[in-house]
């Protein structure tokens, strides 16, 4: 494991009214590695990400970025720290072209006028750094791109902003086999370029193909953070579905059932 984790969460709690969605969650995200965040529906993955991105504020717990404690009060704070989140959809405007989308909301300009040549050059450079060869023209509308290409543009957009932590929410959920492979390859390259990457995924094949570490959430608890190489496919599935697998995960069977059974069912 790397020396200092880029992002460290300690004891994060979050409730919505009577429903406690996150309980005492710890998470380490080192730079240069892909950390897969896995868990069943309702395990709290999205909530955890929203706490990091500043959309929700955690009820309790500490957040360290680059070793220093920080508070994130909104998406702008997160962006200022270099945290970028790529959502499964909703990220791109169909009626704008690739460059326009990559710079949306942060356009380069000289005076009042948009500096198109500079933006186009920077976009081209970023795509080249990520060895993206699938986007034919930077000036084609995003609507004419395939699902994989769109996801590529969304990832490149996140990289463009000198971000240090990129959180990907189900990036391959809507993609075909070949496109999934392309996007995963890109995710791997982002980590190899030194970024910290958090990959939220349901797909075990993706997780094992690309991640260095796996963090498993079960009913709002972080049940295990392990190196991908140390676990098997079956173990991870067990962690997701029952919160424990052999020596990993929640310790005592009875305690888990007592503590989480009733309100877990509500979720």
């Amino acid at each position: 494991m790397a020396a200092t984790p880029l992002l460290e969460l300690r004891g994060i709690d979050k409730s919505f009214g009577p429903v406690q969605v996150l309980r005492d969650v710890d998470l380490l995200v080192p730079p240069g590695e892909v950390t897969a965040l896995v868990g069943d529906n309702g395990a709290g993955k999205s909530t955890l990400v929203k706490c990091v991105s500043g959309i929700y504020s955690a009820d309790a717990g500490e957040l360290f970025f680059d070793g220093t404690p920080v508070t994130i009060n909104g998406p702008r704070d997160a962006a200022a720290l270099g945290i970028e989140i790529v959502y499964q959809d909703l990220a791109l405007c169909d009626n704008l072209d690739v460059v326009q989308n990559m710079f949306l909301g942060r356009e380069k300009r000289t005076g009042l006028v948009l500096d198109e040549p500079t933006m186009e050059q920077l976009a081209a450079k970023t795509l080249a750094e990520l060895s993206v060869r699938t986007v034919k023209s930077l000036r084609q509308h995003v609507s004419s791109l395939s699902g994989g290409q769109r996801q590529t543009v969304a990832l490149a957009k996140a990289v463009l902003w000198e971000s240090r932590l990129v959180i990907l929410d189900e990036p391959t959920a809507a993609l075909g086999v070949a496109q999934t492979a392309q996007v995963l390859e890109l995710v791997r390259r982002m980590a190899d370029n030194g970024l910290a990457v958090v990959l939220i995924s349901h797909n075990m094949n993706d997780v094992f193909a690309v991640s260095d570490r796996i963090a498993a959430l079960y009913l709002g608890r972080m049940v295990a953070q392990v190196r991908t190489a140390d676990v098997t496919h079956a173990q991870v599935v067990e962690l997701i579905t029952s919160g424990r697998s052999g020596s990993l995960g929640l310790a005592a069977e009875g305690a888990a059932a007592d503590e989480y059974g009733p309100d877990g069912a509500l979720r």
Binding site: N95, G105, P117
Partner: protein, 417 residues
């Protein structure tokens, strides 16, 4: 993605080729990205039909008339483009222009204020109307259709109240009257034409040079030159025709030159085209129209963008109202009423602005406005009753909206837009 695309480098810097450019354009059109093509083709067909049936249509008097007839609609349509771009509608733009024209007329005639005060007050009224409409749509969250339908009814009443139950107020201020009724001296017309075309050519060539120096993909030089030549030819022909003597009897009066309203439209067109295509604000308008959620996540203040679109729309409606008041030399309860709004929406849509948001240009409003003006003018020459005119205009609007919807479907099918 196909295997061939894999072979391509991330950025193509191959020298641009005219044949490729044409082929790409054709494939875009086939893919549903038809832009202003229907408006241009429609304009040519309509002109040909009317010219054959009524030779008077081609007279220089009538040509100059077209500009005065279409000006107010085209100006209101330019404002409407902004509201349509963010995927909303403003049904009140017509009567908003009536309210603003009433304010202008009352300040000029009843209070005898100078023209610039009255014009500023009229535009200020438009901006205030836009702020209220935009606030109700963006902040309160009432659908724009309902807000502006309510405003449509209310403004109709406001005009009646302002004009004290339908009085007709004459506009006698020379400057205001000049807007839609006077012509530029012929030499000035030529000077402005040369200036305009020269500026356009310079901007195009500078842009080409900058992109070439930076090693970016450019349009072929030939295409750029052809574009400049076409603009120059159209402008020169128009200025030449407008500078011909139009008076029936030159002993009584001489009537020649470019109507004053033409440079006004050109300036408005340039300003709004610049705002839409060259500023971050314009980019954000398109983003809000394309995907509000993506725009919000990109840190764009979407409410402010939406309110500003309504402000521009109502502000431009005020300018349109001023032109209408100037042309009629008076303001009455029907100014900006009846079919002005539908003509304006029709102009924007015929020109290629999408009713679904995210697609459109200021130029669309002018091209569409020209089509609408030709229809009104030509049908008038043919001596059709206003009943027929309404039916035909309605049919053309429906046709344009149909073309918009179909090209959108085609665009979705071919993954293009």
């Amino acid at each position: 993605m196909t295997a061939t695309a894999h072979m391509q480098p991330a950025v193509t810097t191959a020298p641009p080729n005219v044949a490729d450019h044409v082929r790409e354009y054709l494939s875009r059109v086939r893919g549903g990205d038809i832009g202003a093509l229907p408006a241009v083709l429609g304009l040519i067909v309509l002109c040909a039909v009317f010219a054959t049936l009524r030779p008077a249509f081609l007279s220089t008097v009538n040509f100059a008339n077209l500009f005065a007839q279409g000006a107010a609609v085209a100006i209101i349509a330019m404002g409407l483009v902004f509201v349509l771009l963010i995927g909303e509608i403003d049904l009140s733009a017509g009567f908003a222009s009536g309210v603003c024209a009433s304010v202008l007329a009352i300040l000029l005639s009843t209070y005898g204020l100078p023209w610039y005060v009255a014009v500023l007050a009229a535009i200020g009224t438009g901006v205030a109307i836009g702020l209220v409409l935009g606030f109700l749509v963006a902040k309160v969250g009432i659908p724009s259709f309902v807000v502006t339908l309510a405003a449509f009814l209310a403004f109709q009443g406001v005009v009646l109240l302002l004009l004290e139950e339908g009085k007709n107020i004459a506009v006698r201020d020379d400057v205001v009257l000049a807007v839609a009724n006077r012509n530029l001296p012929p030499p000035l017309g030529w000077a402005l034409a040369v200036l305009g075309v020269g500026g356009y050519a310079l901007a195009q060539l500078v842009r080409l040079r900058t992109r070439q120096r930076r090693g970016l993909v450019t349009d072929p030089l030939l295409v750029v030159v052809a574009r400049i030549a076409m603009v120059a030819a159209v402008v020169a022909a128009a200025v030449y025709l407008l500078n011909l003597e139009r008076s029936r009897n030159t002993l009584i009066t001489s009537l020649k030159g470019v109507p004053v309203v033409v440079p006004l439209i050109v300036v408005l067109l340039l300003v709004w085209s610049f705002v839409l295509s060259r500023t971050a604000y314009g980019r954000h308008i398109y983003a809000v129209g394309g995907n509000v959620e993506a725009a919000r996540r990109a840190g764009i203040n979407t409410d402010r963008i939406r309110i500003s679109a309504f402000v521009i729309c109502s502000g431009m409606a005020a300018v349109g109202g001023i032109v209408a008041a100037s042309r009629a030399s008076s303001v009455d309860p029907n100014t900006g009423g009846s079919n002005v709004l539908l003509y304006a929406v029709g102009a924007a849509v015929i020109g290629g602005t999408s009713l679904f948001g995210g697609k459109g240009r200021a130029l669309d409003a002018v091209l569409g406005g020209a089509v609408v003006a030709v229809i009104i003018n030509g049908m008038g020459l043919m001596g059709y009753s206003s009943g027929v005119k309404y039916v035909v205009t309605g049919a053309v609007l429906l046709l344009a909206a149909g073309v918009d919807a179909l090209s959108r479907r085609r665009a979705a099918a071919t993954g293009n837009r």
